[in-house]
Amino acid sequence: MIELLLNGEPLQIDNVDPNCTLLDFLRDQLHQTGTKEGCASGDCGACTVAVGELDGALDEECIHYKSINACITPLANVHGKHLVTVEGLKQGQQLHAAQQAMVDCHGSQCGFCTPGFVMSLFVLGREQAGPPERHTIEAALGGNLCRCTGYRPIVDAAVQMFDPARQADSDPFQEKETQWVKALQGMNRTDEVQLKGEGRQYFAPDSSSRVSQLLREYPEARLVAGATDLALELTQQLREIDTLIYTGRVKQMTAIRETDSHLSIGAAASYSQFGPALTALYPHCGELLERLGSRQIRNQGTLGGNIGNASPIGDMPPLLLALDASLRLRCDDQLRELPLEQFFLGYKQTALQTGEFIEQVLVPKPAPDDCLRVYKVSKRFEDDISSTCGAFWLRLEPHEQVPEQQVVTQVRVAFGGMDAIPRRAHACEQALLGQPLNDNVIAAAMTALARDFTPISDFRASSDYRLKVSQNLLKRLQLELGNDSLLTRVNQHA
């Protein structure tokens, strides 16, 4: 049985197929149809709901809300949380400020995407003290597609919802927060949670060792965290997964810790959770983390998932390869550390052994002279999969004989989207190593890159384009490291 608050009311759920998505449960079983299905793949945001949690690390007295896609969330993932849907915002006849602003700004046309936008706005409203910058609005709403309005009125609504005149007379999210915190605290937060139904089962253990034990017991079980990838097997391929093991309650797998040498990120930590810590160390990761999926996806998706599914187009592996990250893998009580470079063996194949799983990701901390750049290229800036994603880490130091000249003394270059696995570009690295970043060296590195990769053509990009752009990213790197005043990226200067 799982339990949660749904729009402030306690709800217990048992005997429901654990493969059921949160969206299907809301619509088909509770007949709450305000939340819409636009794609059932987490790409349009029509199903956006808000999920509130007590954040043990931050504050036990507050509920922290985030937006997620209900269409790719296994129902049981919301155990112990406050689920807020569009039905939960209006108080009597009075609209919530996010709703009122959408009405006043003509933010809805056909109205189908609107509940999803309203929920993303609701979360934005709780995150911001006052009217947000445009950039903040775009980051919050980038995962909500609207085909009618062209978005301008929705951007306006995101500002106007902060207008004091639009605030409702009463705000249950403030008035009832203490009561709701108590209710959430009263739900099972320590012991293992299970949901069983239709002959299938879902376990939410609270420790790595129990995960191991379950994997031994159910060798066919699938680990699930944010489910942003796994749920597609349910909604698109119509697979049935008999046993799911949820890792989001395992402390070792959600913790984010900084040591003297490393940032250790739990494999089940979401992008939203680990992003700030990583960006604090490596500010140049910021753009990639904002363009990886959408806000909803970043609230759900995890680093372990991005690595573990071994997709050739995952956006974190190129970065982590360039940073020389390693993985802490667990099998029962056996822990081993494996450089990420040795993890990807072939298309969707990894070095994980039976019963083994990623517990943590270890990212080395930067030295003062390290340079890092990560470039993602895709058809659309927001919520799109990379045509190519290049990460460049290098150290520039004075040449031994010619001290006024800076040369590359260490370098790691890695790409995603260029091969069956994300991997290093060794020939390119060799062309750079020991050299100054001048035109000839960059030209040689570009040529070398063509020896590193023979990318495929698909609907995202042709082989030629992937290679050509990846080569050109070396030019961009040269320009950015050499001349601060040049404009090199269109999305910095809109």
């Binding site: 794609c39 003509h106 109205g111 597609l145 085909r147 978005y151 919520d383 269109v490």
Partner: protein, 793 residues
């Protein structure tokens, strides 16, 4: 009725006019229900007990013969109640909307990858979807044409080619001082309505069907269900409250699913819902046609066109659907706003073994317009002038016999010259042009581009009989009003505008009027809500209905209070009858009822003036033209081909706007949709004929960050439609989509800067970063060779 209702209406006495009359920016009639999740879409409706869920089984090859189809596992699957194939259809098996060619299920032969072969009804959606995947089908694959070029090479067409011609274009071109020819591939576009295809068919006791659906054309689906079930049309009722977006994708392409659900509903005696999963929806429904345009143009040294030969070859897919009219409309718009002294425009309807392409906002117009705007840009580079100047010099004008289109329609109102002038100033085009030239000289990697492109879009269905509409209005004895008409609400605000019209006629607040679901049992024999005509047609019909009731009330009041009709004045929720009485609208309605006056009326409208002789390709197909222009500015990364639209300025002529806020919403949304069509929205088929970009994960419509940070949209002031349209407004649904062409033109401008604006880069659409980079790379080749291939005069 023995006890009469209270007619007291609480109105704000300080209010000087009704709330929600025409020309007011009132909110969408469903806005509060949209934001609260209370607005019900078809899939949200409470459904009858025992409702079954239908799903379709799809072909897994592109073209070939079906040797055998074993459905035993489908029938045996969990939850399955019924399975149907073409043989289970009692009546017509072909649901082609104009011409035959669209079988309900594949008829022994697969016509495209993903074509429905059969359907299954099961206890729930998942069971139906799973079962539909269990068929064992043996095929004999046949060779397939996937591209326009392949279809052209085979001379394979879904409909005969057609030509519109004025003068001797070939002679004019060869006489001209300069000459260019080129070609352009114009990609298609998925409608990507957020609400997918959905229908709920409920069997009626008489043997008919009541259908709840998301469909732009209730009358047509009503007729098709009747034909497929072999029952009279009168036995089918279609109810359509709202769509979660249509954009043309539910004009004919919503019919098949409704028909399948209806057949299963009659067969099982149970209600049947069908709702396509997104990947299947995108695979099995038609899109905007992709086109190949080829042109040969002659012009003078200033770039004024003297003759144009253009061929427009549309990839239609496997069947005619609406392609005849769509390609006609492309041809009607191959002049856009420009006078063509001699022209020969040929349209080919190329058959390919892909999904049958269909209506999408603009209906061929955008492709024709893009083609001619490309020609103008090419000419501008050739004569080394700012493209805006070449555009202005080629506009239709009142002088020098430059006011007739190549299909013989006279341009009676020359709105664009002044509109362009105004936009040129308000957008600071000239100043920004200079700043961009300076920027481009100073930056090695990033380049800026700017373009102003106009739109002149013909308003009316080119199929004449569709230009009619009906409405039905009931006034109740408390003065509340129910409004019904043949138009469908898909987000465009039609219900709001028509309610405003009726509110203005009766002079009551808009909240007294309830717009009700479009239903074929209320207003029969309607036209699709398409061709931007929804308000023009249905607004007029509703006004006529309201005027009928109003006249009855006037006649009654004049007689009852023994005064003249002129003394009966409707104003601000009240009716003043001379000195005799001052009643609320409800009081008068009740009084009229007591005196046995009918308070219900139908209204009807047909568009005047239009005629067209297709054999001669000559006439006046359009009642009037809607005009607008946009200036877009882009920033392009020459290393990656990535770009941003940084600013857009739009000026659109909507006549006397019925609702400025809704009109601006249409303009902004259409511009962004047009931009998406030409930039990131790429449809890619594999060599196996399977559509690979079949979900929003792979098919990228604009997201919120793609909307330009600076986005200035204005309505042309003081421009009432001179034609007798509803309150002298103009259509707004489709025309502004083509404002997005300015983005494409600006991208070409930015790229051309790399060759000092001497070369017009070929830039097929959608202009993805990949295509932009390809164009950049072409220009970075030595210039001389390039110029040879472009200027062959």
């Amino acid at each position: 009725m023995r006890n009469l209702p209270d007619t007291a209406v609480i109105t704000d006495t300080k209010q000087a006019r009704i709330q929600g009359g025409v020309q007011q920016s009132v909110q969408h009639e469903s806005a509060r229900r949209h934001v609260s999740g209370e607005a019900l879409f078809t899939d949200d409706r409470a459904q009858p007990t025992g409702t079954l869920y239908a799903y379709v089984g799809l072909a897994t090859i592109t073209r070939g013969k079906i040797l055998s189809m074993d459905l035993s596992e489908v029938k045996a699957a969990e939850g399955v109640v019924s399975v149907i194939t073409l043989d289970d259809i009692p009546g017509h098996r072909d649901i082609g909307p104009v011409f035959p060619g669209d079988p309900v299920f594949a008829d022994g032969e697969v016509l495209f990858h993903g074509q429905p072969l059969f359907a299954v009804a099961a206890a729930n959606q998942n069971q139906a979807r799973r079962a539909a995947r269990l068929a064992k089908v043996d095929y004999e694959p046949w060779p397939a044409d996937l591209t326009i070029e392949q279809g052209l090479a085979q001379q394979s067409f879904v409909r005969p080619s057609h030509t519109q011609q004025r003068g001797n274009a070939a002679a004019a071109i060869s006489k001209a001082a300069r000459r260019l020819n080129n070609q352009l591939y114009i990609g298609g576009q998925e409608q990507m309505y957020l609400e997918g295809q959905v229908s709920l068919a409920c069997p009626d006791e008489e043997g008919g069907i009541t259908l709840y659906t998301s469909n732009q054309n209730p009358t047509e689906v009503q007729k098709l269900i009747a034909e497929v079930l072999a029952i009279p049309i009168s036995m089918v009722t279609v109810d359509m409250r709202r769509m979660g977006g249509g954009f043309g994708g539910k004009e004919t392409n919503a019919n098949q699913w409704a028909v399948i659900a209806s057949v299963l509903a009659r067969k099982t005696g149970r209600a049947v819902k069908i709702r396509l999963a997104r990947a299947d929806d995108i695979t099995v429904t038609g899109k905007r046609h992709h086109f190949l345009s080829e042109y040969d143009v002659g012009f003078d040294d200033l770039g004024r066109i003297e003759g144009l030969e253009m061929s427009l070859s549309a990839g239609c897919g496997f069947s005619p659907d609406l392609s005849d009219a769509i390609v006609d409309r492309a041809m009607f718009h191959s002049d856009n706003a420009y006078f063509l002294p001699a022209a020969k425009i040929t349209g080919h309807r190329v058959k390919t073994n892909t999904v049958s392409n269909t209506a999408f906002r603009g209906f061929g117009g955008p492709q024709g317009m893009l083609a001619i705007e490309g020609v103008i840009d090419d000419i501008a580079r050739a004569v080394r002038r700012d493209p805006l100047d070449v555009r202005k010099d080629n506009l239709y004008g009142p002088e020098g016999d430059r006011d007739t289109t190549h299909y013989g329609q006279k341009i009676e109102r020359h709105i664009l010259p002044g509109l362009i002038e105004q936009l040129e100033h308000s957008s600071h085009y000239r100043q920004r042009r200079q700043e961009i030239i300076d920027f481009n000289r100073s930056q090695p990697i990033l380049r800026k581009g700017i373009a102003l492109t106009p739109v002149k879009f013909g308003i009316s269905f080119t199929v004449q009989h569709l230009n009619q509409a009906g409405a039905l209005i009931h006034v109740y004895t408390d003065g509340s009003i129910q409004l019904n008409h043949g138009g469908t609400e898909m987000g465009q605000g039609l219900f709001t505008k028509v309610a405003q019209i009726v509110a203005s006629v009766f002079q009551v607040d808009m909240d007294r009027i309830l717009p009700t679901a479009t239903r074929t049992d209320k207003v029969p024999n309607t036209s699709p809500t398409a061709a931007s005509s929804g308000t023009d047609l249905n607004g007029m019909a509703a006004r006529n209905a309201a005027e009928t009731i109003k006249q009855r009330l006037i006649d009654f009041a004049a007689e009852h209070f023994q005064t003249s009709a002129e003394q009966v004045q409707f104003h601000n929720n009240r009716v003043v009858i001379g000195e005799a009485a001052d009643l609320s609208f409800g009081e008068l309605a009740q009084l009229a009822y007591l005196h046995r006056i009918s308070l219900s009326a139908t209204g009807y409208y047909r568009t005047p003036k239009i005629y067209y002789d297709r054999d001669q390709a000559h006439g006046r197909p359009f009642f009037y033209y809607a005009n607008g222009a946009a200036v877009s500015e882009v920033l392009v990364d020459t290393l990656t081909g990535e770009y941003r639209v940084t600013r857009a300025d739009i000026l659109q002529d909507v006549g006397q706007s019925l609702n400025p806020a809704l009109d601006i919403g249409q303009i902004e949304g259409a511009y962004i949709q047009g931009m998406g069509w030409l930039t990131t929205e790429e449809l890619v088929w594999g060599d196996d004929g399977r559509l690979q970009t079949n979900s929003p994960a792979s098919y990228k419509i604009p997201a919120i960050g793609d909307t330009p940070a600076e986005f200035n949209v204005a309505l042309l002031a003081d421009s009432p439609n001179v034609e007798a349209t509803i309150f002298h407004s103009k259509a707004v649904g489709e025309p502004p989509l083509m404002l997005g062409i300015s983005v494409w033109s600006a991208l070409r401008d930015a790229i051309a800067s790399l060759a000092d604006y001497r070369i017009s880069p070929r830039l097929d659409t959608p202009a993805t970063p990949e295509r932009v980079l390809k164009a950049i790379c072409t220009l970075q080749q030595p210039f001389d060779r390039q110029e040879d291939s472009h200027a062959n005069d």
